[in-house]
Subunit: 220 residues, 2 copies
């Protein structure tokens, strides 16, 4: 089945103190987003990149500066991640597989990507997830109680889908329950298949995450 990767980098990166939106920050002399592209370069897939409208010209400059040659199409996003994905999905044909990936997860491994695509090919969707390492408690106003972390999985990306189904699922209005693409597909009535993610596949959202990403990149 034909493969597509939708890299979602529509956010303005308001959580990092530097002025630069986080997807453009340089890690080991390369913008974070280019590391993300590289992680998918082994895959025979077409890439669609969703950027905030006001970030597109900066991205083009960076591509020129770094002689960035991985072919891709750029589309502009919307106010929420939901709208950015919806906008990107318009570029994906039916009857294909599409992996929707957070632009700020540059450390995703080949294994994680392959497992999610394989599962989606067999069962319609594949969503990488990892166990929770820390003890957690469940709170409910004043009360709180222990919660068995063995029952929980932290969800990552790429979340891979049979494109016909995820496009149909996204043909709806935004709902607060939509924390990722799996929850959108699920609202359309499809069960989700979890695959094994990896500890290193972190989402870079805080300054400390940049330090982690630099450390991990230096080990590869």
């Amino acid at each position: 089945m034909e493969k597509y990767v939708l890299i979602v980098a529509g956010g303005e990166g308001s959580r990092l103190p530097s002025g630069m939106p986080k997807q453009f920050i340089e890690l080991n002399n390369l913008p974070l987003l280019m590391h993300t592209f590289r992680a998918f370069s082994f895959l025979d897939a077409s890439i669609v990149l969703v950027l905030p409208e006001n970030g597109i010209s900066l991205w083009e400059e960076l591509c020129q500066k770094h002689s960035f040659s991985i072919s891709h199409k750029v589309v502009s996003g919307g106010p929420e991640r939901f709208h950015s994905v919806k906008s990107g999905l318009k570029q994906i044909p039916d009857d294909a597989l599409v992996g929707i990936h957070d632009g700020v997860r540059p450390m995703v491994s080949r294994d994680t990507i392959e497992r999610a695509f394989d599962m989606a090919e067999r069962k319609g969707n594949g969503v990488p997830a990892i166990p929770l390492r820390e003890s957690v408690r469940e709170t409910d106003h004043a009360l709180n109680r222990p919660f068995d972390r063995k029952q929980l999985r932290i969800v990552q990306t790429p979340q891979v889908f049979f494109s016909t189904l995820i496009k149909k699922a996204y043909n709806c209005s935004f709902d607060e329950r939509f924390t990722d693409d799996a929850t959108v597909l699920e609202a359309a009535g499809f069960p989700i298949n979890l695959t094994e993610g990896s500890e290193e596949n972190i989402k870079v959202t805080l300054p400390v995450d940049l330090a982690i990403a630099e450390y991990l990149l230096s080990k590869h």
Copy 2:
């Protein structure tokens, strides 16, 4: 009320690839455990350190090498964290406050420590916790469903207790539900009070955590 800190470093650190148990590994030229001691140095408290039996002589050498002068008593631990804490609590008098802290959490802030001690002084116990940043799903064999992360808190240390109560609570046998000290007190019938922890108060258990800790220490 008199204050005590019980630093628990009874583990053998099997998860790090270097031969050295992780509590002794050097971060910015100082063993991790000494950074942890330093985090408590503002507090007027007596410190008890629990170490594995076979780590005590190494600790003494390190103290000499680094001219480490923070006064403390050392006791040897047991096979599980539960037994190590139980062993340490024997050194704590009744009618005091005791903060039980993971030796491998060197980044704990003064604010986190003060909030937990203040809560324990007022209500018998104080347990630092932070919100979960990632999307999670709940799994139950083949099925899995979204789980509202807003209901969850990641539990940290120091967990601070009125010593009379936590010593009584630990007067029991090990149970698999005991993932931390709060769950032991809770099993004895006491409700737990959560206080605000901090993102930086990480537990150093994997090699990447050492990199994070070095980065955070370099910022202080």
